[in-house]
């Protein structure tokens, strides 16, 4: 119909979605990729704990009380990292503890991200009183120190896995909400949003189908970083004794258990501490890689 047909562009015929490109960039970044693999190993450990753990993490044996790691005098290779004050195998407890850290980390971040994204989208796109209301709640919640807020909630609700998740979600949603609101404020001024309005798209369509896909990458990146925070918070709560209750193995309470013997039996606290460090560090490094991979500056 029209004579003015441009020659086809020199792009590959293969369909390259923007998300696929980001993943490819992530895979090309070796350092982050390695961190991602470490995180994956932790996740596998959590799921397959019974297969990984050499011993029953709950079996007490007072004869092995504070048994040192295998390479020290009195150590034993079937209890590689030694035993705690009740003679339980530390390695097995760390492996089972992964379940708690990752379950809570994932659950809190997932729930908080969903809530925060919806509220952030509403505040950023609808503006007006919705924005004012949500933003005020965010400001108020930001005024409380996170840990103290969680301790207070735990004190009211009592211990337990569900309650920890709730206590952390109560405040955690603020983070994705603020990020999403900011991103939406920028995205709503884009011409493609106006273009969608011009063809008669309703508000929900614009919020969830036009804007959300464009800010999803920042949401994912922030959520990953936050997962590391949440894992530390859970460990802190457990350390303080108001988190997961014994005898359930949790890294935080394991560190707390060893406090009394830190000079005589350093391994009781140190190994769970290293586990926390390793997981949190890997998550942080991997999320940095994700951020770089999603950064539109690197898009071609």
């Amino acid at each position: 119909m029209t004579a003015a047909v441009e020659a086809s562009v020199v792009t590959p015929e293969r369909i390259e979605t923007p998300a696929w490109q980001s993943l490819r960039r992530f895979a090309a970044d070796r350092f982050s990729m390695a961190a991602g693999i470490v995180v994956l190993i932790f996740v596998l450990m959590a799921i397959l704990a019974p297969w990984f753990a050499p011993q029953d993490p709950y079996e007490t044996d007072l004869l092995r009380r504070l048994q040192p790691p295998a390479w020290m005098e009195g150590g034993e290779w079937s209890y590689v990292l030694g035993c705690d004050a009740l003679g339980r195998d530390i390695l097995s407890r760390i492996i089972y503890g992964t379940r708690i850290s990752i379950t809570i980390g994932l659950a809190v971040v997932l729930i908080a991200t969903v809530i925060g994204t919806v509220l952030g989208l509403a505040a950023g796109y609808l503006r007006g009183w919705v924005d004012i209301a949500i933003s005020r709640v965010i400001d108020i919640l930001l005024g409380f120190p996170y840990l103290i807020f969680a301790i207070a909630l735990m004190a009211m609700m009592g211990p337990g896995l569900q309650n920890i998740i709730l206590a952390l979600v109560y405040k955690e949603w603020v983070v994705p909400a603020r990020v999403v609101r900011g991103e939406v404020l920028a995205a709503r001024e884009m011409e493609y949003v106006e273009a969608a309005r011009a063809v008669g798209a309703p508000r929900l369509h614009i919020m969830f189908r036009e804007i959300l896909p464009n800010i999803l990458s920042s949401v994912i990146v922030v959520s990953t970083i936050r997962m590391a925070h949440v894992i530390i918070l859970e460990a802190s709560l457990s350390f303080l004794g108001i988190g997961v209750q014994p005898p359930t193995a949790s890294w935080g309470s394991m560190v707390a258990d060893g406090r009394a013997f830190i000079l005589d039996a350093w391994w009781v606290s140190t190994f769970p501490g290293i586990a926390i460090l390793a997981l949190v560090l890997s998550i942080n490094v991997a999320s940095q890689g994700l951020r770089d991979a999603f950064d539109p500056k690197f898009s071609d």
Partner: protein
């Protein structure tokens, strides 16, 4: 000029778009005087069915705001918009959505106006899906047909905006605007982000689509060459006002308003001898937050007299089918 006067497809009366700035809670507490930005200031014009009305003006003159207000993408704060005999100024959004099938817009920036996360099929098919005009399979067929008529191929369906050149993206934007078979299309600087050779291709495309589909254009541009080429009539905007309207040919040959004269004489010409005597403007566009009293152009007008500083000139007839808002132009 026009023999059988076709009824205007779009009629704009005293249209106003005022943005209230400084009206936040803090400013109110601090007792700051509210500032109002009169982006579109009591504008009156009409677009006849089948014609192209060109709208020129410099950046910040309010031409893009005007375009968006006409389509009610921005809500007008005064005046009326009549589209095909219906007053749509206060139409509820639900009825407006139905009307959007008939009034569409092509955006300036082919990079920003396409959602980077959506495929061409989704972008061009969206209007059909939203208006429930076609089933899934049918949508693809119609998208393919539309792509072909803007010079793209079926193979492009699954691609994403970043895989196209600027000109091709603008074609996608055109396909999206035209797939609902609108009668009225606002072209908001559709070629100013493109290279000259691509510009010519897109202009040619827009013109051929107009002929084939019987479209009516409100064509906005700051490029007078482009406007002169595509328009039947031209409106000139300055600081939220329309200062002159007339048939393209006559207006360009013999501009009446001093601003139009200055604008035309500033366009660089490649033909030696085509150069008009320069009407030099001094100074810069005044802030639209505090427009000058009287004629808004008097601060830069080389011909301004005392009266211009006091009295706002009204648009009046200055020739057959021509109007201008200037005290110094003789009325016809």
């Amino acid at each position: 000029m026009s023999v059988a006067q076709p009824h205007p497809l779009l009629e704009i009366r005293n249209l106003e778009k005022v943005y209230q700035l400084n009206s936040g809670l803090l400013q109110r507490i601090a007792r700051q005087p509210p500032l109002s930005l009169r982006a579109v200031d009591k504008v009156t014009f009409s677009v006849k069915a089948g014609e192209t009305l060109g709208l020129i003006g410099e950046s910040g003159c309010g031409k893009s705001t005007l375009a968006r207000t006409v389509l009610r993408l921005h809500e007008p704060t005064g005046g009326s918009i009549t589209f095909d005999g219906t007053d749509i100024t206060k139409l509820p959004q639900k009825d407006m959505t139905a009307l959007r099938r008939r009034m569409q817009i092509i955006f300036q920036d082919p990079y920003a106006s396409l959602n980077p996360r959506k495929s061409v099929e989704d972008i061009v098919g969206l209007p059909l899906a939203l208006h429930g005009l076609a089933h899934r399979r049918e949508i693809r067929d119609r998208v393919v047909a539309m792509l072909e008529s803007v010079g793209l191929k079926t193979a492009h369906l699954g691609r994403f905006p970043h895989q196209f050149s600027g000109g091709q993206r603008q074609r996608i934007g055109i396909a999206r605007a035209l797939i609902l078979n609108p009668s009225f299309v606002v072209c908001d600087e559709p070629v100013s982000a493109l290279d000259v050779s691509v510009q010519a291709q897109i202009i040619a495309l827009l013109e051929s689509l107009k002929r084939e589909l019987g479209l009516t254009y409100l064509f906005i541009s700051h490029d007078i060459g482009v406007i002169g080429h595509v328009s039947d009539r031209i409106a000139v905007m300055y600081l939220g006002d329309i200062v002159e309207i007339g048939p393209a040919r006559e207006l360009l040959r013999e501009p009446k308003h001093p601003y139009t004269k200055a604008l035309l004489s500033a366009v660089p010409q490649i033909d030696a001898g085509a150069k008009r005597e320069r009407v030099k403007l001094t100074g810069d566009l005044p802030s639209p937050l505090a427009p000058p009293p009287g004629c808004k152009f008097h601060t830069r007008c080389p011909f301004a007299v005392d009266r211009c500083r006091r009295q706002v000139p009204a648009l009046r007839n200055v020739g057959s089918d021509r109007t201008a808002a200037c005290h110094l132009v003789d009325a016809a």
